[in-house]
Each structure stands twice: as C-alpha cells, then as structure tokens.
Symmetry: C2
Subunit: 465 residues, 2 copies
C-alpha cells in the first residue's frame, strides 16, 4: 500500500445517483429526534454499493425511521461536535493462558507489540468483518461509507464521522444525533468473539450546540454516565472547562489493576475542536462551490488539508448539500477531520494520535490546523497515556526551599523540575505562535491514576474594534 496522498474523487456520490439516496451527514430534517418516530430499525439489510468509485457497505436501517417534519427543524443547524469512544482491549482474564502470555509479552522489554503473532486469527479486532462492524454501527444510527486499511489499522468514513479499528483498540466518533453509546453491548459481544475484553474505556465529547435535540442516552451527561457506568462501572466522570462556555465531558474507566500494570508504548490523542469558522474557508466544503474548483485539483489541495501531515494516505468524502469527512493513514498514526460548514453552526474537528517525527512540535501542528480553518474560537485537548503514575511523582520533584523568611509559603514551595513527565502534556502547546490573532482563555491540567493525563485549553480570536 503506497503512502502518498490519494484524495477522494470530486464527483457527486455514485451511491446517491444510483440509489436516489442521500448520505446522512447533513440531512437537516434528521436533526430533531424529538420529532422522529422509530418504526423498526431491524432487520438490517446490508448491500454492496459504489461511492466515489469505491465499493462500500450501505445499509437501509434508516429507511425504517420515519421523519416527521416540525417547525423547529426548519431552520435547525447540524450538531457538528462528535461523541467519541475509545476502548483498549486485552485477552480475557478468564482465558488464563492467553492473558498470562499477554502480560509476560508486554513485560519483556525486548518484545514489541507487533511481534506478538501467536493466534493471528484470534485476539485481533482487525479480523472482524465490515458487515459485523455495520451491525454495531446500526445501533448508533450511522453507516459505513468508505474503508481504507494498512498493516496497523483499518479506518472507516461513516455517514456521521469515523471508526478506527486497531488490533486491540477501537476509536469511534459520531456526530449529529447519532446514538453512539447504543453500541456498548454489541461491541462487547464482538470483542468477546475474538477472546478480548475491555481494559480501558474513554468516552468524551464537547458540549453540544443543540443539546435539546439529542436522543436518549445523549440528552445529558448524567444520562450518558448512567449508561456508561452500567456497562463499565467504577470510572471517573469529569466536566472539563467552564460549564458556562466551551467545555468537554469525559468518562474514563481503567480496568487495569495495580498488579496488571504492563509496559505499553506511550500513546496520546490530540483534538482541535473549532467553532465559528471563516465563511470563506467553509465555502470550499459546500456542494455549490465544487464547480468552481480548478480541474484536477482535489478538495485537500484546494483547502490545504494535504499539507497538514504530508505523506499520508487520505480517504475523504464530500457530503451533499455540504459537509466533509476524511481519515488519514500515516504508518501507525491516524488523523481525521470532520467539517460542518454552515455559517450558523460551523464546526471543524481535527484529531490525531501522531507521534512520529513527521511534525516537530504539537504547537506547530496546531498552528497549521488553526491557520487552515481560521476558527473564531477553539478548544485543544491532549490526552496522554504515558503510564506514568502520579503516585510516583515525589521521585521526580526536587523541593528547593527558599532561605528568605519574608517570602510567601508558595514562594518557598517552588520546585525545580527537569523534563518531568508530569509536565509533558501540560506544556505541549503553551508556545503556540498564534501571534496577536488568538488569546488563551483558560487552561486545565488533569492527572489520573494509571498514568493518564489531560490538558484542556480554550482560545478565542482577538477582535480589534
């Protein structure tokens, strides 16, 4: 599989032409679940179809959902901010030989995760068929539009956002009024069929733009927590950032016991969640302006998306009447962008787990993203799983008391910290070179037991009067 940029075709969706069917992303009459009668969503019919010249899976579950017109939907906006679920799996503890091999393998400093090749057809989510994933996605009310894969992971462009499947990890984000948490039970069954069980569950989302339009179980964070703790009890639920402005919800449930601590590669997820984008930039992602694009130029080339992480393979989809989704593959790293371009509810999300030498600093990557999309305000989250436990932090800090009796307690209690892991993520994007364009509004840093930490920041464009 080559690794050059291979953007999607700019032609209208063949599936739409052939089937007279629209893709979900920006069907506005589907925005308000309060006025939707679910008649029957099963059985699901899965058919092979062609979209953007590629064979894809299409199901017709949504045909069983009867849309009822209502006043509030007439000028409704699309819910861009995605619900996001990441689950790390391990061989089931009840499957003792496999579990012990897993532990000893990960505790052997000379072995790499990739080398673990016993049972290649088991303990591996990449063995799961597209049809089976679609049966799970049906429960979230979205469907597969496109697929790409390399040796490290498979990725799917969905009618609402994206799904990434690694050997023992799933990352799925779905926007609009999808019911992401509806997949929990089915996901358990699918993992179970590969001898796997969840080790770490992370659910997160930004505050919704139109929260009253969200269906069960997404009508509130409390409702989501009830659903999550029923399947995966014992986690922590956090509201990150001011509840009166841009904020972010997080549920993290770590099922790894202290005795099960295993060596893993450091892992991190960077998200840039942008609102109020420059209409000139957004225009490129509307059907109406597609005809103005120079012949032979892709939307990625036109918009500058192809320059964000050069050398990536790109799988993208342009929605009618507007909207855009893409998945990028760069070795072990993925990146994904989802665009809601409508002026009254514009939103762009950028996400990546990149940690290669492709970018020199996160700050520089964030700068490129922000300058490509020109948001009015944006939130950056960096969740890092470096397996460094806060309980050990006293070994990394060196207390250097002041000898001046007149200083304050806080002055006395300053520390010298040298490249401490503690501060890795906290400082990862403090030096954003955004000039006088943007202002840092607030910043929060979380440490969780198990070595996870989170940095959350809000930025706003500086308005010159």
């Amino acid at each position: 599989m080559n690794s050059v940029t291979t953007p999607s075709s700019n032609q209208p969706s063949i599936a739409q032409q052939e089937n007279g069917e629209h893709n979900h992303h920006h069907e506005h009459h589907n925005c308000c679940n309060h006025h939707q009668d679910v008649v029957d969503v099963s059985p699901t019919v899965v058919e092979q179809s062609i979209v953007n010249g590629k064979p894809i899976l299409v199901n017709y579950a949504e045909k069983y959902v009867k849309h009822v017109d209502c006043e509030c939907c007439a000028d409704a906006g699309f819910e861009g901010p995605e619900k996001r679920l990441e689950v790390d799996f391990r061989p089931k503890k009840s499957d003792l030989p496999a579990y012990q091999e897993y532990l000893s393998h990960h505790n052997d400093a000379n072995s790499s995760e990739e080398e673990e090749t016993a049972n290649p057809n088991y303990y591996n989510l990449m063995n799961i068929s597209d049809e089976t994933w679609q049966s799970m996605l049906d429960l979230a009310c979205c469907r597969i539009l496109s697929k790409k894969e390399n040796e490290h992971f498979s990725c799917y462009v969905l009618s609402e956002s994206s799904l990434f499947v690694f050997r023992r990890k799933i990352v799925i984000k779905t926007c609009g009024t999808t019911t992401l948490l509806g997949i929990l039970k089915r996901m358990k069954e699918i993992a179970d069929s590969q001898g796997l069980e969840a080790e770490l569950v992370i659910y997160s989302r930004k505050n919704f733009v139109f929260p009253h339009r969200q269906p069960h179980p997404h009508s509130s964070f409390e409702e989501e927590l009830r659903y999550l703790t029923e399947e995966y009890p014992g986690g922590e639920g956090h509201v990150v950032g001011s509840v009166l402005s841009d904020h972010w919800y997080l549920y993290i449930c770590d099922m790894q016991g202290v005795d099960d601590q295993i060596r893993k590669d450091p892992d991190q997820t960077l998200e840039v969640l942008m609102h109020d984008l420059d209409p000139e930039v957004m225009k490129q992602f509307m059907e109406a302006s597609r005809k103005d694009r120079p012949t032979g130029m892709t939307i990625e080339q036109q918009s500058g998306i192809d320059k964000l992480l050069p050398g990536s393979e790109i799988d993208s989809f342009e929605f009618d009447p507007c909207g855009y989704s893409m998945n990028g593959l760069l070795g072990k790293c993925y990146w994904t962008i989802h665009i809601t371009p409508e002026d009254h509810c514009s939103f762009v999300s950028f996400e990546t787990n990149v940690k290669s030498s492709k970018v020199q600093y996160y700050s520089e990557l964030i700068e490129r993203v922000v300058h490509t999309f020109r948001p009015g305000r944006f939130t950056v989250t960096l969740f890092a799983d470096d397996h460094w436990d806060i309980r050990h932090e006293d070994h990394t800090l060196h207390r250097t008391p002041s000898t001046d009796d007149h200083t304050t307690l806080l002055d006395k209690e300053s520390f010298q910290i040298h490249n401490s892991n503690l501060l890795k993520t906290y400082n990862a994007f403090t030096n954003l070179a955004l000039g006088d364009e943007y202002k840092l509004k607030s910043k929060t840093f979380y440490e969780f037991t198990g070595g996870y930490n989170l940095t959350f920041t809000n930025f706003a464009k500086i308005v010159n009067n």
Copy 2:
C-alpha cells in the same frame, strides 16, 4: 490584643440555659427544607445575649420558621460541607476620584494597602455594625454566636459556620441547609453604603452529602449559577473533580478589566475537606464526652487543634448535642475549623489564608491537620490569586527540543521550568509525608485569566486487608 491561644469555655451555652433556645448547628429537625413552612422571616428581632461568657447577638428569625416533622428527618444526617462565598471590593468606579486614588495607590510600589487611610470611616467594611451583618445573615438563615477582631479583620462564629470581614473583603461559609446565596443583594447594599462595589466574586462548595435536602437556590449547581450570574454575570462555572466521587463546584467572576490591573499582595486560600473521620477523634466533639475532659483542659488542647497554627487567638463554640466551630486569628491570617462529628455523616473542614512564616510548607500544615482529625478520605483545594496572567506564560517557559529523532513528540516538547509561578500552587502539596496511610487519587490544576489558579486533589486512606 494578645495573640496567645484563648479557647472558649467548656461550659454549656449560657444562651441555651437562659433562653431555652438551641443553637442551629446540629438541630436535626431543621435538616429537611422540603418539609419546612416559612411563615414569616421578618421583621427580625435582634437582642443582646451571653454565650460562653461573651456578649453575642441573637436574632429570633428562625422562630418564624415552623418546623414540620417528617419521616426522612428521623434518621437524617447533618450537611457538613459548607457553601463558601468570597467577595473582593473596590471603591465604586462611578465614584471617580476615590477609584482613581485607589488605582494609583495600588500601582505605587512603595505604598502598602494598610497605609491607605484617607476616609477612615468610608470604603471600609469593618465600619459596618454587627446588627447590619445580622440583617444580611438573616437571609442565609443563620445568626452570629460570637465575634473577635484584630486590626486586620473581624470574624464571627455563626450558628452555621463563619463570617470574616476585612476592610474590602468578605469571606463567609455556611453549612447545613442555610441559603447563603440569599445574601447577595443585601451584601451589595451594605458594600454600597461604604462606597464599595464587587471586584471579584468566588463561590464554591463541595458536593453535598444530602443534595435533595437543600433549599432553593442550592438544590443544584445549575440553580446556583442562575442566581450568581443574575447578580454577577460573565463568570466561569467549573465542576472540579469526578462528578461520580468527591468533587467541588466553583463560580469565579472577575470584574477587573485589563486596564484596571492593580498591584496586590499575593493571596491564597487553602481548604482541607475531610470525610469519614476516626470516631475516636470525633467523640471529643460530642456533648456526652465533655464531662470526661480533664479539668482545666480546653477542647483545643485535648484535640490538638491548638498546635495546628501556634500563637493564634482562638474563638470557638461547642454545639449541643454535638458539633464544633472555631475561628483563629494570626495577624493578617485567619483559619477556621467546622466539625460535624456524627459517625454516619462525619465531616471536618479546615480553611486558612495563612502565608506567614508560621508554617514551613503547606504540606506540613496539611499533614498536621490530617493527623489531628484522621479522615477516611479528604480533598485539598488551594486557590491562589497571585495576579500572574497565563497570557504571559510563554516568557517563563524555555523550550528545549530533544535532538533524538526517535523520541515521541511529547518527549521533544519537554521544558525546563525554573521556579515558575505557573507551578507554585500545582506543586504546593505534592510531597505530603502521609507515608503509607493515604493514597493520592486524582489531581487537577486550573489556570484562569487574571492570574488565579487552583489545585484540587483527592486522597483516600489505604485499607489493608
């Protein structure tokens, strides 16, 4: 005024003997506002009375509240965790000469706040009479039991917790089912009578043990925010810590414009909020065990409270049938402890703004507090107002990129930080010498524009099976 420890008398409250009246703190039939008919809370009758040998103010507003017995109150517990409000005041901007004098005074590096003596009878909340404060406290449904003052502040022990009045600052915390936010309008009027207006408003509280028993406007954080933003709009509302375990609510509204930035002394508030305390320690704060106390020994000497911040003047109150409150005065610094000793809902709060050379580190003070009360779990919050703006942080960090191409992005982006203000509060109590007794559960660090920052940590006792 001397500064030696002068604990309260151990005798039963004289007010109770004389008036046949109980103090509020642990009257359990008052716990459930759902079953309370407020008949008429005005007009307030204020009378002079004697409690613990000291003249105090007693009002009878609560006599107008008719208590209705109900089943759920029969074995109800007391709500120990306090609502806390801190307001910093300045001369009103509309009073331009006074406001400009205030600005120039605070921007003159050679002047101290204490020296500002123009208009000694104005712009000073310490001029306000006890009767006027009681008229404000009536709206929170609590009353003054005792008062002490020094040249820097006055402090009041209340029927539910404490009130501190500085020249231009109020700190008030009230526990139980008091209606603290009911005072906002009256507090504005009182400040206005001294030519003052609010410059910074901070409301905070721990999650309630019995949230369903709280009256309007404290039945939820959302309701509290509606009330707060109506009087002081434009602030930030944060939920700090996991909503599924011990957490803390914060509203912060900074009305100081960028152009009004003035030089102020660094200020910080440390709170240690303790649950599930050792019953042997709590027994000391119950009426039944008072008779076992050696003659001549105070409750502070018996419990070790007198050793927490030696040299303080102490004003304390023992409640019937149980409970304890104290205020400590130590020059410019205050400290305050409130104890709910009942086994099924035990809670102790410790708070101080101490920054003198009386304690070497916050960690050592926290250790003393924790070893004095022996909680099963506790939360430490440190809110620091050092007027250091996050917008300037890029001047304090020195990016030192790694030259190793194989390191991760986060490794590359490590920083060397030398005694940065940024980390003052974050590291203020990472080195708690709690041995193998307690485990750090989670840790969060917030930065707010205006130079405020907050560190929040949860600890739990390690249970050895």
